[in-house]
Subunit: 357 residues, 4 copies
Amino acid sequence: MSYNTFGHMFRVTTWGESHGPAIGCVVDGCPPRLKLTEADIQPWLDRRRPGQSKYTTQRQEADRVQILSGVFEGQTTGTPISLVIHNTDQRSRDYGDIAERYRPGHADVTYDRKYGIRDYRGGGRSSARETAMRVAAGAIARQVLGQGVRIRGALVQVGALGVDRARWDWDLVGDNPLFCPDPVMLGQWEDHLARIRKDGSSIGAVVEVVAEGVPAGLGAPIYGKLDSDLAMAFMSINAVKGVEIGDGFAAATLTGEENADPMRMRDGQLHFLSNHAGGILGGISTGQPIVARFAVKPTSSILTPVPSVTRSGGNVDVMTRGRHDPCVGIRAVPVGEAMMACVLADHLLRHRGQAGT
Amino acid sequence: MSYNTFGHMFRVTTWGESHGPAIGCVVDGCPPRLKLTEADIQPWLDRRRPGQSKYTTQRQEADRVQILSGVFEGQTTGTPISLVIHNTDQRSRDYGDIAERYRPGHADVTYDRKYGIRDYRGGGRSSARETAMRVAAGAIARQVLGQGVRIRGALVQVGALGVDRARWDWDLVGDNPLFCPDPVMLGQWEDHLARIRKDGSSIGAVVEVVAEGVPAGLGAPIYGKLDSDLAMAFMSINAVKGVEIGDGFAAATLTGEENADPMRMRDGQLHFLSNHAGGILGGISTGQPIVARFAVKPTSSILTPVPSVTRSGGNVDVMTRGRHDPCVGIRAVPVGEAMMACVLADHLLRHRGQAGT
Amino acid sequence: MSYNTFGHMFRVTTWGESHGPAIGCVVDGCPPRLKLTEADIQPWLDRRRPGQSKYTTQRQEADRVQILSGVFEGQTTGTPISLVIHNTDQRSRDYGDIAERYRPGHADVTYDRKYGIRDYRGGGRSSARETAMRVAAGAIARQVLGQGVRIRGALVQVGALGVDRARWDWDLVGDNPLFCPDPVMLGQWEDHLARIRKDGSSIGAVVEVVAEGVPAGLGAPIYGKLDSDLAMAFMSINAVKGVEIGDGFAAATLTGEENADPMRMRDGQLHFLSNHAGGILGGISTGQPIVARFAVKPTSSILTPVPSVTRSGGNVDVMTRGRHDPCVGIRAVPVGEAMMACVLADHLLRHRGQAGT
Amino acid sequence: MSYNTFGHMFRVTTWGESHGPAIGCVVDGCPPRLKLTEADIQPWLDRRRPGQSKYTTQRQEADRVQILSGVFEGQTTGTPISLVIHNTDQRSRDYGDIAERYRPGHADVTYDRKYGIRDYRGGGRSSARETAMRVAAGAIARQVLGQGVRIRGALVQVGALGVDRARWDWDLVGDNPLFCPDPVMLGQWEDHLARIRKDGSSIGAVVEVVAEGVPAGLGAPIYGKLDSDLAMAFMSINAVKGVEIGDGFAAATLTGEENADPMRMRDGQLHFLSNHAGGILGGISTGQPIVARFAVKPTSSILTPVPSVTRSGGNVDVMTRGRHDPCVGIRAVPVGEAMMACVLADHLLRHRGQAGT
């Protein structure tokens, strides 16, 4: 991975700023002769699209994706696939404030320290708008993985409110704008988020992504481990502060006996009797579901003034008005799924290259 | 990163198996004219060396490092630095069992599924012995970073027993074999580990690594973020199941107000009044201490038999005798420090390349 | 370099097909705060643009470049620069023939063998149209290199007709559509090319590119040599079959005495008394002009029928009508300059990263 | 490729200086379950070994290779293969002269300009001794390619004396220390080289490498072309100044009719009636033999004094005594074969990864 590219064999390069004319990506290394049209990508983008519920930003973007290259007569050709989404709702406004003041918790100050310049309009390159292209690339990655691999994400915690896994219902996830798998928790979250939103505050969240049907053998020692590539992929999503595989941090509290995943042969096939490992041993997939979670911090844009500084070195208190997600973790669900898809597609090709299967 | 190499400008490639003749690494891209002799590397290796306390494996290895290239008259030349450690305590024994039986929680089964072959002696390539070379490379990375950057690690949790940060004492960390910063907890851990060890069991742990003196501006959007590279680096360490930056998973429970890091000018310098972010905003260092943690699962090698399968497809119960760490998290402390050093050194060179400073 | 990306620190990824809606590129890793507008890129594209003389293809393309990201208020921001050129003269026609018949000397047959599918319209991805984006990226690379580095190319041979270096005139190069530096040869080439064109034939050529003002120290052993990166860069241009540095193949005929480049101090500075090496020793620039040449084969599209085969396995004779350059080497001159610029910019950043200067 | 690593899926990293304790390489990404022992590598090294004829350097090195990792019970395991050769004939001597004086035509001056330090003993890292590891890696690459791919090299020109292709005899190549395929030219070269050697002079040469049995479809547009990767690989060999594919520079003098490679179906298979292209079209292999040539400059170490400068800025005349090849092109033959093997192995794996076949 390097700056704005990730992946080795299935490589995604994204570009674009929040308030520039467009955002886009180039997907290189995609296998040839996969079915691909804009209709294979658009539904995934629609799930991430802003302005769909009162819990996410009210920015209105059609997020209509166009394929500019790499596809011929509805099939991939093996050449780079260029995707573009034109920005349509770059609300014209006075950026004087944001140009000069660093929003706490945002990348304003670090971009300026690093580059000595920044496109301050809407966060520029550091805006979560970039994640739309991850979702688009993820849709292509799903075509690479094929029908046999199913990748699904859900929100499992909002603030201190975590779901009850006994009530987990994947069908519910697709039916509510919060990607909540627990019917009881759904109502509690709605109430909680309504309060948060009314207060001009924000709240953190945890996202879980599960990939089923992943063949054993993907991932590679030592610095090409499937879990380390997933950790990088999830941590690269805006506002993510932690990543777990399988039992994750809870594994720190377990004994070897509690953490063990016993194996048994059944009908001539190897079966694991539990999945504390999250489907990965030694950096390589076991054939079990890959289970990962990541923590998303609360949106830094809040209505409470926070002490900050100006570009020219003065003190100022910053209150961020604008169109923001009170819980940016919600829209991170489809983004997390996309990153899982991209990492798995990359490893599928890498494994096939080295091991020939 | 690719298979057995990590880093872009400061690149580390490791090789070697637990019970082969030697392990080694090649560090490429190191700046020229840095002071470097074996004496700059050996002390760091000694901190990770097995057989130093009753809480870690009793394997006896001198872990004596040799520099084979890239250094001339005590200075780096800019050409690849080859390091080697000869294995001396590959205890001769009958490997019949381990060749045929998959140890639960180990990479035995996944290496076999991936490659159709594995060097089963002591775990082969998947052994934590590989981490010695990370520590060696980390010592070189520290030379790249210079005196101004201080990287220190500590064990902050063993099982459910976490340290009290009010009692944190960095001096203590260097004085006890558990890298414990809390004098009260140290005693409790010793008791707990003694019990675990006596029971032939094992326990998980959490490691914290802090880097002070890191200049603002290291790291790069979007897929070259400092935190995503750290996440990959830590997750690539054996037995690690989770990674956090700053408040990490706790950030999921916070509101935007609670999570905010206010800024103020002081003596013409920008100061942050708190560090929930762990020293990184938008993937770029803020100039504050970089704070990261990772969770290490309990050693899978335990004396309790666990259901498993054989290579040829039979059922078997596996009990792992041998020389193992009851808490593999302990020796992960110097490894975590080394990975932090390597990631920072890489980003220092990458930043200097792009931005010229 | 990987598929459609080249460079390490200064990375260029191109995309697009000859007859798709657009072609484009993403330039990643560009230093911040460089002056850049479309006006800095367009003039270089205009030099390569088709339809400018009777010796090059009559396809009419405005080749109007747009910057979609990475530039703010006329300066680069350090984030990826996305450039796009919309195709306007994709002449609507029946592609039935070309879809089924492999044009000899073209990539039709190999793309099909590799991918099992190809965008046959105008050669698709294998069209030299892709080189427009190299020229655009090269314009950005020139900004990275700054005013001190001057990169110029010329055509030095058309068929068997080579220029006389005693008559070399750089000013002339900019004044004629053949990029010819020799006023006598210019007339001969015009006559020769007129004949070639009238016959529906084509002819090969040799291009020379010279970079002056390149500081000593760029390039790196062993697989990052400046000359091997140049060799790759030039060989990747459509129709190129050979690359030379300095004396090139002529060096094979020389003795050590003849090939030596003596050195002397002059005014406290090191001076070379000759430049057989072409400005590179051991893969690293000497501070002398970098001199490289590459051979371009004759355009494969000719009016004489050539035995070929069809996709479905029949024999056929193929005569290629259409809008083609009788000497594709002519338009390779600005492309060669651009590749030189990109390689040097990449090495400038890589060197600065490692060596700090 | 980056500094001391080349290849993407089949990656070779070399290290070591001419007069250090050892040289070595790490081959990463090698497919598992290939037969490999030191006996598969040693014979190729023996062909390159110095001290074998009066036409090559008299340095005596056994060049005995050891495998330190990545192989288990005679088979590759998919983990990194570490190879080492201990230097035995680092003749102890006074290096005072060479430390201070820049040898013309060598990398002494550029290493110093780049790094501000150099290991001057025997050329350090810039010595052609590094190529031994290329040959070793090439032997592994041959195992990856399998029996179906045959890679052979020959010397085709020494000074102005080129072989007559009508007399080409591959069997002869293996029987003479000059790798000469032409029985008549062999005698002439021997005489010529004897004279050159007696005069303390040196002479350039051209090497040709041919790979037969390469399947169609290897290589990839646009910056992963098989020919551009070959150009980089050959140009990275010490003293190489030019690279050609197929007709190479001669293609510049041809018309489209002369350069065309007609195709015909024969027994249901596509056949090319000539091979001007050298087996590559659009950067992708055609299934024909891959034909490449590279020019090697005369050894810069000669007995005639050449004007030079000292490190501290004085003028000096340098005459290079020592153990040198009068025609360094001779020993470049096995090196060229090895680079061809490595590039093809890499592209085989890359193609299999993307296209699945």
